[in-house]
Chain length 164, copies 4
C-alpha cells in the first residue's frame, strides 16, 4: 500500500490583486516544499498563482476544472481533472482536500468554505470571508498571518486528523 | 407559450427549532398564496415545514433530493427530483430559484447562499448567516422582518428582474 | 400526505427528424392524458416535441437544464430546473423518473439509458439504442410499437413497482 | 509550462472475474510503463486491479470517488479525488481522460462509454459493451486483442489528437 501524500486545496478568486498573487504563489511554494499535493479549481487568479508557486518547487498540482475543455487549465496545472459540472465542481475542490487555504475570493470561494466546513475539513483564511450566524460570530475559519503560517496550520491540522 | 410560475427556494437546516418550524411553515404558506412554486432540498426541518405550509395552501412543491431514493422526500414534496449528487445538489436548489429565502441553516445553507449570490439571485434572510469579507461587512443578504415580509421581498425582486 | 403523481422521463436527441418529432409529441400527449408528469432535459428536439404534446393536453412538464440559464428551456417546459452541471444532469433526468421512454437519441441518450438501468428504472425504447455485452444481446430495453404502447408499458411498469 | 503527462482512464465493473482482474492489472502495468497517468473510479474490481498494475510499475494513479470518504479508495490509488456526487462522477472519469479503456463492466461502464463518445474521446474495448442504434451496428468502440494492444491503441489515438 502506498504512503499517500497530503492534499491541500488553495481557493480564491479567478481575478486577484498583485498582493494576493504574491501571497498565493508563496502558499503554493510552501505546499510543495512541505511535500504536499496542491488541488485547486485549475483556472486563473489565485489558482494560477498557487500552481505556479508549487510547480516551481517541483510540486504536484491538480486542477478541478468546471468546464469540458482541458486546455482551460492554467499552464501550471499538471493533472487537469475535467468535470464539466460547472461550479458544482467547488464541492470536489473542497472535499478532495485534507485542509483548505482560502485567499480572498468571492461567492464561489464562499461555497467552497461552506462545503469544507460541512465535511469537517479545516479552513485556514488569508484576507478572506468571515462569518456570523444569527448575530453570533462563527470562528470556524482559522486565521493565518502569512503564507508560511497558513501552510503550517494546514499541515498541523492534517497531522492531528490523520496521525501516521 | 406558457406563462411560467414564479419559483422561490426556501433553504435552511434539516433540523430546526419550533420557532423556525413555524417561520418556515408561514413562509411556505405565503409562497403558495402568492401563486409561486416552492423549491427546496426536499428533506426535513426547514424544508419539510415550508413544504407543509405550501402544500396546505394547495401550492406546488418541488424537492431537489441529494440521494438516490425518492422516498427520502418529506411527505409534502409533490415532485421529487432525484439527483444522487449529494450536497452538490445545493447548486441546483439555489440556481433553480428566482429568489431564495434563507431561514437559519448551517454550512449547507451557506453554500446555497453563495451559489445564489454568485448567480445574482436575490437572497432574503430570516435569522440566518451574515457575511463580511476582508473585514468589510457584505450586505448582499436582504434582511426580512417576518414570513410575509420575506415573501413580499422575494416576489418584488422577481418582478423587478422579470417584468411582465 | 399527498397522492404523488407518476413521473415519466422522455429522452432523445436535441435534434430529430419530422417522424421522431411526431412520435415524441404523441408520447408527450399520452403521458399527460394518463395524468403523469413529464420530465426531460428541457431543450430542443425530442425534448421540446414531448413537452409540446404534454403541454397541449394540460400536463405538467419539468425540464432539467444542463446550463445556468432558465431561458434555455423550450417554451413548453413549465418548471425549469436549472442545474448548471452540464451533461451530468443526465443522471437526474433518468433517476427522477419512475419509467423512461427513449426515442432515437445519441450518446447523451445512451448515458441516460445506462443510468436508468443501473437504478432498476424501466426503459421503454422507440427506435433507439440496442445493447450487447461481451457478445451477448442485452434485452433490458423494452421495445414499444408506438407512442401509446410506450406510455402504456411505462405506466404498467410503474404500477407494478409502486402498487397503490 | 509543464509537459503534461498523457491521461488514460480504465473503466469496468466493481466486481470482476479472475480473468478480468488479470487483464485490468496488465492494462494498468502497461499504462505506467508507457509513462501515462491512470484515472479511474477509485473503487474495487477492474479499478483496483488496474491501479495495482500501474502502482507496481511506479505509475501515478488517480481515483475519482463517488462518495464523501477518501478511505473508500482502493489501496493503489495515490491521489483520491473526493467528489460526493455519486455516479454522476462517471462523467468526470470519462472526460478527464484522453482515451478510455473499457474492460467488461455493467451499466455504470455504459454511461462512461456514452460520456466519452459524446466528447469525442476514443474508447478501446476489451470484452465490453457493443452498441447498435435503430438496428444499425455502431462501431465507435475500438476493439482490442489484449492489454498491450489496448494501451497501444489508446496512446496512438492520443498522439494523433494531441501531436507534440
Amino acid at each position: 500500500m502506498l504512503n499517500k501524500p497530503r492534499i491541500i486545496a488553495v481557493i480564491g478568486g479567478g481575478q486577484c490583486s498583485q498582493q494576493e498573487t504574491e501571497l498565493a504563489e508563496a502558499v503554493g511554494r510552501e505546499i510543495a516544499r512541505r511535500g504536499a499535493v496542491l488541488v485547486c479549481g485549475g483556472l486563473s487568479g489565485v489558482m494560477e498563482a498557487a500552481c505556479r508557486g508549487a510547480s516551481n518547487e517541483g510540486g504536484l498540482t491538480i486542477g478541478i476544472l468546471p468546464g469540458e475543455n482541458r486546455d482551460a487549465a492554467n499552464p501550471y496545472v499538471r493533472i487537469p481533472i475535467v468535470t464539466g459540472i460547472g461550479y458544482a465542481r467547488n464541492v470536489i475542490v473542497a472535499k478532495s482536500a485534507q485542509a483548505v487555504i482560502a485567499i480572498d475570493g468571492s461567492y464561489g470561494t464562499l461555497t467552497e468554505i461552506g462545503y469544507a466546513l460541512q465535511s469537517g475539513i479545516p479552513v485556514i483564511g488569508l484576507n478572506t470571508w468571515s462569518l456570523a450566524r444569527d448575530g453570533q460570530p462563527n470562528s470556524s475559519i482559522i486565521p493565518a498571518e502569512n503564507a508560511t503560517d497558513a501552510v503550517s496550520k494546514a499541515i498541523s491540522s492534517i497531522t492531528s486528523q490523520y496521525p501516521d
